[in-house]
Symmetry: C2
Amino acid sequence: MSIQARRERERAEREQLIVTAARELAESEGWDAVTTRRLAEEIEYSQPVLYSHFKGKDAIMAAVALEGFADLAVELRAARTSETDPRRALAAVGAAYAVFGERRPALYDAMFTHAVDLRFDNAETPPALREAFGEFLEAVRPLARDDDLETLTETFWSGLHGLLTLMRNGRLRRDHHEQRLALLLSRFSG
Amino acid sequence: MSIQARRERERAEREQLIVTAARELAESEGWDAVTTRRLAEEIEYSQPVLYSHFKGKDAIMAAVALEGFADLAVELRAARTSETDPRRALAAVGAAYAVFGERRPALYDAMFTHAVDLRFDNAETPPALREAFGEFLEAVRPLARDDDLETLTETFWSGLHGLLTLMRNGRLRRDHHEQRLALLLSRFSG
DNA sequence: CTCTTGTACCTAGCGCTGCTAGCAAGGAGA
DNA sequence: TCTCCTTGCTAGCAGCGCTAGGTACAAGAG
């Protein structure tokens, strides 16, 4: 039993190695640089090994995204619980989300722009993502009034997402980022 | 002179043929299906002909996007001028934008998700895009109060963009789309 | 009308991609 | 010790964006 256990452990470690290498490579050189050959070289195994762990490149990106959700949830939670006033808490969560997206654009893309094979709106939603969205929910809840909480949260989140993605693609004036954030917050803190 | 004129005219026609073929192919089968080989076959010329018109595939996508901006501007203008009440006008513009993005997702992607080599925030912003954004500006203006008009418009637009892109990637519940739209509008009509 | 020049276009191919078939080596169990 | 099976490799496929080099045809000169 111990031999098989060791093997499974080593296999799990290698899988983690793949995901980490993919994330680091994407964060340092962008997803275009993450090719299966490059990734194989990085982990010091041959290309086909990747396919014994993941169905394909998309699945690797999905695994990276999943780690990102966990990271994001932690940061959002820290931001939310750092403030007691509901308005300030929402502002903190929004700011933390924006910082996350700005600081780790490649990871953010894997989570919210690519990797369509991860469904978000059904029972198979990854727990880590559910948790991250939960932080948004709790931050919005005290300010929801008569509006449906989940719908309102989705809308607020979409606003943040739009601000980040449009700015990063050069569609918005970068030097007005903070003002836009403040404006969005003011409109959802009423 | 007339011979050269005819040639230039034919060349312009062929360039339009390329852009149209790219747009139609993208809209019917997605941008992944738009390869240079496939596109060449579609216009019944060889591959290198594409490169005598455009620097590369990205430039073709940018040309498609440019056409999209013109289309969008027309539709936004129609929506805005169809209502006299400022709130209803903004709602109409928002709805028209959402419909555009939903009905022509591939075109929308070329305009706002891919094609980074088109700058939006400087002097070289394409006139068609300037016009489309101008419709947003005019729709928001009557409701701007003390907020900076351009910044507020960018924020509102980002909200719409976020709603569309997140929903299309399966990140939002599709059956709550209208509610989210209404919520966003209510927050920007105050 | 013939010859030369230039241009418009095509065939072929480069280096890369994601992915897979088929083989060789090594450890596990009889 | 022999056999089997797992593991990871080499090699290769089809397709990608893009380009070099050559051909055939039209335009202008003598």
